[in-house]
Amino acid sequence: MISLTIDGREIQVPRGTTLLTACRQAGADIPTLCYDPDLRLAGSCRMCVVEVKGRRNLVAGCVTPAENNMVVETESPDVVESRKIILELLLARHKLTCHTCESDGSCKLQDYCYRYGVTDSRFTGEFHDGPHFSKEDANPFIKRDYDKCIMCTRCVRACEEITGAQAINVMNRGHHAKIATIFDGNLEDSPCVFCGQCIMVCPVGALTSKVAAGKGKSYQTEKVLTTCTYCGTGCTLELNVKDDKVVGVTSVRDENWSPVNRGALCVKGRFGWDFINSSDRLTTPLIRENGELRPASWDEALDFTAAKIKEIKGEHGPDSLAMFSSARVTNEENYLAQKLMRAAIGTNNVDHCARL
């Protein structure tokens, strides 16, 4: 263990701990944009700079190891000034349309500008008439609005390190740097698998879900943790609910709550949820009468079914009835389904689509 003093408070951390972790452990609220605990360090945004006594320059906390006897200030005038300048530089190429932005309220750039009172940028530079990175992408899943991109590269790293798709990278340098697929094409012509991990890690509104667009901002929705309805992997996802409707899917990365996937999802889990509110949903029982299915009440439909089952059982015995239960419904419902066939009807003719 080593000891250091952070904002006047002495703490002990294991050797090899970064300054960022040490500062947070000491209770300091350090802003970060490019830092992501699940991804390779980039050390590029410099938002996490802190002042270390005796060092000539401010250091980026995320990539600087804590050392014994360090004395650290996390909100000194120099630190605050530096962060303000960084925010101004970022705003210089950021389209400020917060009022219509999907990430309004969950945007780190917005939060930090608010925190440090940064309203505008002195550095519009060659983008005096606004940034020019907007990318029309025909895919139905991911909206890429690079006029809001802050070049933190978390999307690039998530694409490579979580999904392994390696679909995007940084193209060009300096003012012209941007995130692009190979030859700056569309995502559908790249190795992109539309998992949306890039949306998950994007700290601003540069990458958002087209399926959830316009349906509710993050702070307007309740998040309900549940298990995905598609394949057998059992990923945990969060249904975003507004006005008793599912309006989006997000994920949590804490392995204590998302043990299988730690926030990673696939295209079906992240974007394949709007069937829930489909106008095609069956909403009333149906009974066949004169060859046509017609709406019926629950009592009528249940009585009809029960009477028919009893009639068949009476005439042909219980083994003339069978049930296909479902790999889609819950354990509780499968338990009841087989119990109904075995105990209420008296046959073991119950199976489901495990073989298909």
Binding site: P259, F275, E315, C353
Partner: protein
Amino acid sequence: MTNSINELEADAKCVFLIGTNTTENHPVIGYKIKQNVRKNGAKLVVADPRRIELAEMADVYMKFKPGTDVALINAMMNVIINEELLDKEFITNRTEGFEEMAAVIAQYTPEYAEEITEVPAEDIRKAARLYAEADTASICYAMGITQHSTGTDNVKSVCNLALLTGNLGKPGTGVNPLRGQNNVQGACDMGALPVTYPAYQKVTDSAVREKFEKAWGVSLSPNNGLTLTAAINKAYSKELKGLMVIGENPMVSDPDLKHVEEALDNLELLMVQDIFFTETARKADVVFPGVTFAETDGTFTNTERRVQRVRQAISPRGGTLPDWQILCELSKRLGYPMNYSSPEEIFDEMKTVTPSYAGMTYTRLEGKGLHWPCPNEEHMGTPVLHKEKFNRGLGLFHAIEFKDPAELPDEEYPLILSTGRNLFHYHTGTMTRRSSALNKHVPENEVQINPATAERLNIVNGEKVKVVTRRGNIEVKAKVTDIVNENVIFTYFHFSEAAANMLTNADSLDPVAGIPEYKVCAARVEKI
């Protein structure tokens, strides 16, 4: 799975994938395998008739002829035995039947297998060495192994390979079927199978039956029931009169749809409980509107036997009822009341008759869930099975001879047709085809055809063609690609308007499991 999913990301030094297109069908597991290969240098062996995405990063890729799995695995074992790469200690202490198995394996030299499988003998040797020499090696498979008339033999062969090399009972190893549906593991665990009560307790075992008779207060049938495929056949022959279908769509998912349709038309009662007016619901006498996973509480059990919570997010849509309530209402009207106030109450009853779930409660499942078996409330669950011993004691080797698939290509139907899934769709498409973005991205079916085959038939990429088998035909867009060999074509089964199962064979079932041979039937492609 004998082991858990996250072991594939860290613990497995070698991953052998056979008959699983993991990045499309279990994408998140696919990510983990990729990271293990890229970050930790894990070895990757892929065997699949199609050059799937993971084949591109494999150390050895074996593009084998569909239906020749047993020959391929036997040849790998032949190499392992002949090169003494086997785990003698494990075989001695934990297995039986080795000699009988080895006697059969002796003839399956890589050269012999090359003739059957079309895989170069040297690749089989390399694959066998990578798998056997790794400290920990995991086998993953999916329906590519099981959906054959020899599905049970294929699974046994996979088990042989793991037993031979001691790759069971420790992290990073195992025989790991990747199951394709959210709760297919749970449905099996819960006894939605014609031969077992919950937790695989046999319906033919009188002691077990007595236990359930006592718990449920009725006398129970001692006879094994009908499998899904057998039930359809019995409906076809009019011996089965009534069928209740919950959240399934046999009119798209089952083999030989013409046969399925005639079978369903013969029924006196077809009840369908679903969230949409599916192809099967259209044929029903009565339809019950159920709910989606967002509208109910409960649990799902994933492919690694982890039981996890499902939480209600919104109220049931329109006039729908949660499926458990529909079942309770129906049971009451059949004179057997099942009264529960919540899914949790059902779970609490279920676990009293399900030893592998006995230690679970909703409270304990919060957060990370629990892997069964979890026999009591102090037990932390079992991510890795078979650590000390197997269920039967010793692991049993099976001597398995290669058998041809049931329907082989001939002059009239010269190609092998395989069916499967696409990344952007799920099963019969009931949900994904009503998910706007997914269906916009992949709106229609395709048949994958090798360029040489396409050229011979004068077919260009994107052209509508007719795929014909002895059961029927579909019109579908041609995707000309060399990921399939010249003698193989592949199509998806999600699309009812160009339904793969119009083509598949309901007669060629695995004799033990009753699974249809979706991975092999004889077909031809016609220019329209």
